[in-house]
C-alpha cells in the first residue's frame, strides 16, 4: 500500500491510500492526489514503481519543481517516509506493509498525543519543583542553626525554579522542534518532572556512600553523581518524541555529554590549579546511631598524604 499524506504546518491534514502505481499528483481535477495550492502545477509529479520494484516520485517538469528536503530533484526514491515539497505544498509518502499487526508497546502509547491542559503543565512543574526542593531539604546545611530563613529560602527557590524551568523548557522545545520532532511544551515539562527526581536520589545515594566508602572515594562519588544525573537528563531529553529504537541514540548522546563535561571539568580544575586555588573537601556527616562515622585512616597514613601534598607544592616544575 502506498500512503500519501498532505501536510499543513508539518501536521497531516489528509491521508490517501493507493494499491497500485502510478499515482498522479497535481492541481488538475483528474489527478489521483489533488493539491489545491496555486504554486502546484496541473500535472506536478507522479509516483511510479521502478524496474527493480522500488517506489520513486518523479517531477513532471512543472514551473516550481519537486523538492526532497532542501534539494530540488527530478526523481527521488521513497525509502521509509519521504517528505517532498511540490511548489509550496508539502506531502509525505510512505509504503506500508499489510503484514501481521504489530503489538503496541508502552513507548508507543507515550507517543500518542494526549489532551493537555494548562493544568497538565502546572502538575509537571509542581512535581519537578517538589523534587528539587526535596534535594535542598535533604542537605544538612539546610537545617544548620544559622539558616534561620528556611521557609523563605524554599519559597524563593521555588519561584526561581519556576522561571528557570519555563525558560529552559522553551529552549529545549525550540531545539527539539528544530530537530524535526513533533513535540509539545507538555512533553518537555514532563521530562523535567521525571528527571528532577534524579537530584534527591543522588543526594541520598551520596549520603549513604559517605558511610560506606573511605573519605576520598566518597568525595569523588559525591562530586560525580550530579554530573551523571545531568548527563542522563540531557541524553533522555535528546530522545524526546523520537521514534524508537533509541537506546544507541541515547548512549551516543550520554557519551558525547560526558566527554564535554569531562572536558569542562578538566579545564576548570586545570585553571584552578594554575591559579593556585586550594582544593579542599570539607564534607562531613553526622554519625549514625551507634557512633559510626564511616571508614577512617590512622594518623600516620594521613601524615603521608600531607607529606605528599607538601612535595607537590615544593615541586620546582610548578
Amino acid at each position: 500500500m502506498i500512503v500519501v499524506r498532505i501536510l499543513r504546518d508539518g501536521l497531516t491534514v489528509r491521508e490517501q491510500v493507493f494499491h497500485a502505481t502510478p499515482v498522479s499528483i497535481g492541481r488538475a481535477a483528474g489527478c489521483d492526489v489533488v493539491l489545491t495550492d496555486a504554486s502546484v502545477s496541473r500535472d506536478h509529479a507522479q509516483i511510479e514503481r521502478g524496474p527493480d520494484g522500488a517506489l520513486v516520485i518523479v517531477d513532471g517538469a512543472g514551473t516550481n519543481g519537486l523538492y526532497a528536503g532542501p534539494r530540488r530533484v527530478s526523481a527521488e526514491p521513497v525509502v521509509g517516509r519521504l517528505r517532498a515539497r511540490l511548489g509550496l505544498a508539502e506531502i509525505e509518502i510512505e509504503e506500508v506493509s499489510s503484514d501481521a499487526t504489530q503489538p503496541i508497546t508502552l513507548e508507543d502509547l507515550h507517543g500518542l498525543d494526549q489532551r493537555r491542559t494548562p493544568l497538565t503543565w502546572a502538575k509537571y512543574i509542581a512535581v519537578a519543583i517538589l523534587a528539587l526542593n526535596l534535594e535542598t531539604v535533604l542537605m544538612p546545611d539546610f537545617w544548620s542553626p544559622w539558616n534561620s530563613q528556611r521557609f523563605v529560602a524554599v519559597v524563593w527557590q521555588s519561584a526561581s525554579l519556576l522561571v528557570a524551568m519555563l525558560v529552559l523548557s522553551s529552549i529545549l522545545l525550540g531545539l527539539l522542534k528544530a530537530a524535526g520532532r513533533k513535540v509539545r511544551m507538555a512533553d518537555v515539562l514532563r521530562h523535567f518532572a521525571v528527571f528532577a527526581w534524579l537530584r534527591p536520589l543522588a543526594a541520598v545515594v551520596s549520603l549513604l556512600a559517605y558511610y560506606a566508602l573511605p573519605d576520598g572515594p566518597a568525595s569523588t562519588f559525591r562530586a560525580m553523581l550530579p554530573l551523571l544525573a545531568s548527563v542522563a537528563f540531557f541524553a533522555q531529553a535528546a530522545a524526546i518524541r523520537r521514534r524508537p529504537p533509541n537506546r544507541a541514540f541515547r548512549w551516543a548522546w550520554a557519551m558525547a555529554l560526558l566527554l564535554v563535561m569531562a572536558g569542562v571539568g578538566f579545564t576548570g580544575s586545570y585553571s584552578a590549579r594554575r591559579g593556585g586555588q586550594p582544593e579542599v573537601d570539607y564534607n562531613l556527616q553526622i554519625p549514625l546511631p551507634g557512633g559510626t562515622t564511616g571508614p577512617a585512616v590512622e594518623f600516620s597514613e594521613y601524615a603521608a598524604e600531607l607529606e605528599a601534598a607538601g612535595n607537590r607544592s615544593a615541586d620546582p616544575a610548578r
Binding site: P278, I286, G291, A296
Partner: protein, 420 residues
C-alpha cells in the same frame, strides 16, 4: 594631691636636666638607617641604629635591613646622623633575635658601651630612635625584666616606642646599652619590647658575612633551620612536661596542658537564637621571627573549640563544614610564584587519640628555603551527634615532619570532657 605636686616639683627638673645631658652626650653615636631601592631622595625602609665600635660598626634591627638581606643587588644601605650621611655595608645579622650589624666606611666615633647585665626590674631606662623619620627622639620608661612567653627572649618595656625607632639603643642611667628597640604591642598603651644585649655580644663575635645574594640566602636558611629545630625541641619538651599539669577544660572538651611558651586566650560564646554554645581556647607564639617575602618562621597558632547544640543535630553537622572552611588560612597562589609553591591539600577521616576527626590540611612550600612550609590543619570531631570539638593548627615556616609530629601529639592530648 599636695604631696603629688611637691613630688613633681622636685623630680621633674632633675629628669629634664639628665635627659638633656644624655641627649647631648649620646647623639653623636646615634644614626638613622635607610634602605634605598633606586632613588637617592626617597627611602624604602627606615630604622635607627647606634655605634658599637670605634671603627664604624652600627647595630640595628634585622627587620630594618631585611629587604637588603633579601636582595643586596637592588638595594643600598645608608646611615645618617648629625655628622652627615655614610654609605654602609652589611656585616652580620641574626634574624631570630632581630638584630644586625652594618659598617659605615670611614666613620670614627665613640661607641656606646654594652652593659654586662640585663636591666633590673623597675629600672629607669631611656631609648633613642627616629620615629617615622621625623627626628631623633628620646623616650623615657622602665624595664620590667623579660617577657615570660615565646621562644625568643625579649625585654618587656613600659615606654611608647614608635615605628622608625626600631634598632635604636635602650640605655640605663650609666649610659650603657641594655638592649635594642624592636617592637611594640599593637592595641596596647605604651608596651614595647627590646632585644637583650647578650644577642648583640654573640653577633659581634661572629665573622663578617660575604655579601652576595646566594651567601645571604644560605645564611638565612641556616638560621631558620637552627631556630625551627630549637622551637620544635622546646615545644616538644614542654608538651611532655605539660602532661603532669592539670588539664585544660574548653567547654565539653579537655586537653592536656599546652606548652608554656604559648600565650593563650579563653573565650566562651553562646548563640542564644541558634542554640549553639561555642567555647574557644586560642594560643600563639609571641616574638616569632619573620623573613622577607615568606613571613613568620617557626610560628604556631593553636585553636581548640568545643560546640554543643541544643537544637537540630543534623543541621548542626550541616554547619560544621562551613566552620572548618572559615578557619582555612591558606590563600590561593598561582603556579610559577618564585617564593611560595601553590597550596596543595589533603582531606580524610583520621583516627587520633580515641576520636575520629575530619581533617583538612593545606601545605605551601617555601621555594628558596627547601623543606620549609606554611601548613594549615583543621580537624572536626565526628563521633558525637550533638557536640563537636574543633582544632585548628596553623604552622608558618615549619618543617613538615616537626609540624606533623606536634599535630599528632596535640590531637592525642584532646578528648571529650564527659564520657557518653
Amino acid at each position: 594631691m599636695n604631696l603629688l605636686l611637691v613630688l613633681f616639683a622636685v623630680v621633674t627638673p632633675q629628669v629634664q636636666a639628665s635627659s638633656e645631658a644624655a641627649y647631648a652626650r649620646l647623639k653623636p653615636s646615634l644614626f638613622t638607617i635607610e634602605i634605598h631601592s633606586g632613588n637617592r631622595e626617597a627611602k624604602s625602609s627606615l630604622g635607627s641604629g647606634y655605634l658599637v665600635s670605634a671603627d664604624g660598626l652600627i647595630a640595628t634591627n634585622y627587620h630594618v635591613i631585611a629587604s637588603y638581606v633579601d636582595d643586596p643587588g637592588h638595594n643600598q644601605l645608608r646611615a645618617k646622623s648629625a655628622r652627615g650621611e655614610f654609605p654602609v655595608s652589611l656585616v652580620q645579622f641574626d634574624l631570630v633575635n632581630d638584630i644586625a650589624l652594618v659598617r659605615a666606611e670611614g666613620l670614627e666615633g665613640k661607641p656606646l658601651a654594652l652593659a654586662s647585665d640585663p636591666p633590673e626590674t623597675g629600672e629607669r631606662i631611656i631609648s633613642f630612635g627616629n620615629p617615622e623619620g621625623l627626628g631623633m627622639s628620646l623616650i623615657e620608661g622602665n624595664a620590667n625584666g623579660f617577657a615570660t612567653k615565646g621562644v625568643v627572649p625579649r625585654l618587656l618595656l613600659s615606654m611608647p616606642l614608635n615605628s622608625g625607632m626600631s634598632g635604636g639603643p635602650i640605655l640605663n642611667s650609666r649610659d650603657q646599652v641594655v638592649g635594642t628597640n624592636v617592637s611594640i604591642q599593637w592595641l596596647s598603651n605604651s608596651l614595647s619590647f627590646g632585644v637583650p644585649t647578650q644577642a648583640l655580644r654573640d653577633l659581634l663575635a661572629r665573622p663578617a658575612l660575604e655579601v652576595t645574594k646566594a651567601a645571604l640566602q644560605a645564611e638565612t636558611n641556616r638560621q631558620i633551620d637552627a631556630f625551627e629545630k630549637e622551637t620544635f625541641a622546646a615545644l616538644s619538651t614542654s608538651l611532655s612536661a605539660g602532661s603532669k599539669e592539670p588539664p585544660l577544660v574548653i567547654g565539653g572538651a579537655r586537653s592536656k596542658a599546652l606548652p608554656s611558651e604559648f600565650a593563650c586566650w579563653d573565650n566562651r560564646q553562646e548563640f542564644q537564637r541558634e542554640g549553639v554554645v561555642k567555647s574557644q581556647y586560642g594560643c600563639d607564639l609571641q616574638f616569632t621571627p619573620a623573613i622577607e617575602r615568606m613571613g613568620p618562621i617557626a610560628s604556631v597558632q593553636i585553636q581548640i573549640e568545643h560546640f554543643s547544640s541544643a537544637t537540630s543535630r543534623y543541621g548542626f553537622y550541616g554547619y560544621l563544614p562551613f566552620h572548618a572552611e572559615s578557619h582555612q588560612q591558606v590563600s590561593p597562589r598561582a603556579a610559577g610564584d618564585p617564593d611560595l609553591g601553590p597550596p596543595e591539600c589533603a582531606s580524610n577521616r583520621v583516627r587520633v587519640g580515641g576520636e575520629v576527626w575530619k581533617m583538612t590540611s593545606c601545605a605551601v612550600a617555601f621555594k628558596t628555603s627547601p623543606g620549609f612550609f606554611d601548613l594549615d590543619i583543621a580537624a572536626t570531631s565526628l563521633s558525637r551527634p550533638d557536640e563537636a570539638m574543633f582544632v585548628s593548627l596553623v604552622y608558618k615556616g615549619f618543617r613538615m615532619k616537626s609540624a606533623l609530629d606536634l599535630s599528632r601529639r596535640l590531637l592525642e592530648n584532646i578528648s571529650w570532657g564527659a564520657p557518653r
